[in-house]
């Protein structure tokens, strides 16, 4: 099978060197716009219908025994100052379910429906962490806590470098 250029197809996807072929038992249609399929149960039918899913999930490892791809290993972010982050943009990314979705796990100021998995990020401004440290937390927290539940937003290509700069500025601004 050919190796498609995932990086180009995926908006905002950083270098995605680990991407390989999906396994044969994955619910995928190589010709569908996002490839990944979602099942649709049709009443009184012996066939299961499939529809395109809103997002292409083929670049990352699945649970299939046939999937030969390793977990992308933790990466140091290599942050270079100055930060040049935009607090307002960072906040928008943090609240956007399709992007940072930090709100799913973190309590953020002014939001009604916080998740309760993560730490309170409130008061971060007073903690005096360097920008490089905060940037690394968002880029790939596995370097600090190998067993973290927080997704490695940088290593996995979920956010761009500028997104993470904006988020760092936002987190550093929280009272």
């Amino acid at each position: 099978m050919h190796l498609p250029l995932y990086g180009l197809l995926f908006a905002g996807l950083a270098l995605c060197a680990w991407a390989g072929d999906w396994p044969a038992d994955a619910a995928v249609d190589a010709h569908a716009p996002t490839r990944t399929l979602t099942p649709k149960v049709v009443v009184n039918s012996g066939r299961l219908a499939w529809e395109p899913y809103k997002r292409d999930l083929t670049p990352w490892p699945s649970l299939s025994h046939l999937d030969r791809r390793p977990t992308p290993p933790p990466q140091a972010a290599g942050f270079t100052p100055p930060l040049r982050g935009d607090v307002a943009r960072g906040r928008a990314i943090a609240l956007d379910p399709a992007r940072g979705n930090c709100i799913a796990c973190h309590v953020l100021p002014g939001e009604d429906w916080p998740g309760s998995l993560g730490h309170l990020l409130l008061g971060y401004r007073k903690r005096g962490h360097s920008d490089a440290y905060v940037y690394q937390q968002i880029y790939d927290r596995r370097l600090i806590n190998p067993n973290t539940v927080m997704p490695p937003f940088g290593t996995f290509g979920l956010l761009t470098e500028q997104d993470i700069r904006d988020l760092t500025a936002y987190v550093q601004s929280l009272d």
Binding site: W60, S62, P74, Y133
Partner: protein, 300 residues
């Protein structure tokens, strides 16, 4: 000493720990996959929840649920949603229609008695059959779930009942209804079933997808926590009410639920009946051992 220096040191130390603490994969030829640790031991019986979420005493007995908890949005997860099992809303929900459909399909498929024999029902008696699936089938040379067996045995009658389809799940629901109230009882102590359970246990802790979550990231580490508007519950005792009526899914088999959890967690889903889902099914079914079959149930 400067703050930046300490943070560099922390990063370096973190990296060293990471390199030394990576759990080795079972087989050196296997790709290196991160696990969500610790890899819990799990008891192949529903009471194992006492060591996980501890909610089991609250939902052990369907007839003695605390209805004040059921009415509390903060606490109803502690009942593991068992208040939506029958006789809940016994009037009409979609599960009852599916049950009727399943019975009609079953009768038609089993006119010759060969369908029941193929499923492994002794003398055509379906009672208790549901409680002993998944099982190792020597004729197929692998462990199969009930829905995979239904697909296989229907095909032998020249009928298409794809795993995960409405009609397949309807037949499965009908078969389950004849084990109503009987405890799930699969044996994972030896042979291929034990191997499947162990693979399932490992898969349950294997990180995957765009967010690098494992099943256990939610269902072990964050039981009772709120994620995107719903509370996460224990993996113990879940299988007893499948296939289940869901408003958006009509009728959802266990493998379709795994697809839904995969999608919600940003993991590429697999086809129903895939080996990995069957291993997870064996694992989850063992975690329901001792819990009575209760269908047709509804879930939000």
């Amino acid at each position: 000493m400067s703050k930046a220096w300490t943070e560099h040191a922390t990063l370096a130390l973190g990296l060293m720990l990471l390199l030394s603490a990576q759990p080795g994969a079972a087989d050196p030829a296997e790709p290196r996959r991160e696990l969500d640790l610790p890899l819990e031991r799990y008891e192949p019986h529903v009471r194992g929840d006492l060591r996980l979420s501890g909610t089991y005493p609250l939902w052990r007995d369907r007839s003695r649920l605390d209805w004040r908890l059921a009415g509390s949005p903060e606490e109803h997860w502690k009942l593991n949603w068992k208040f939506m099992d029958p006789p809940y809303n016994s009037a009409v929900h979609g599960g009852h229609f599916a049950l009727d459909r399943g019975e009609a399909l079953y009768r038609q498929l089993d006119r010759s008695g060969r369908f029941a024999a193929c499923l492994g029902a002794p003398r055509g008696r379906l009672k208790g059959l549901r409680t002993r699936y998944p099982r190792y089938r020597a004729d197929l040379g692998r462990v199969v779930g009930l829905e995979e067996a239904i697909e296989h045995c229907a095909a032998a009658q020249g009928q298409v009942l794809e795993n995960g389809s409405y009609d397949n799940s309807a037949v499965s629901l009908y078969i389950a209804s004849l084990s109503q109230g009987l405890p799930i009882a699969i044996d994972v102590s030896r042979g291929p079933m034990r191997a499947a359970f162990e693979r399932g246990r490992r898969l349950f802790h294997t990180r995957a997808g765009r967010l690098n979550f494992a099943c256990s990231s939610c269902h072990v580490r964050n039981v009772g926590q709120m994620l995107r508007g719903s509370h996460i519950t224990t993996p113990y005792g879940d299988v007893a009410h499948y296939p289940v009526y869901r408003t958006q899914y009509m009728l959802q088999s266990l493998h379709l639920r795994l697809i839904e959890c995969n999608l919600d967690a940003g993991v590429q889903p697999l086809r129903p009946g895939s080996r990995a889902y069957t291993d997870l099914e064996v694992f989850l079914t063992a975690l329901s051992n001792g819990y009575p079959v209760s269908v047709p149930a509804e879930r939000h």
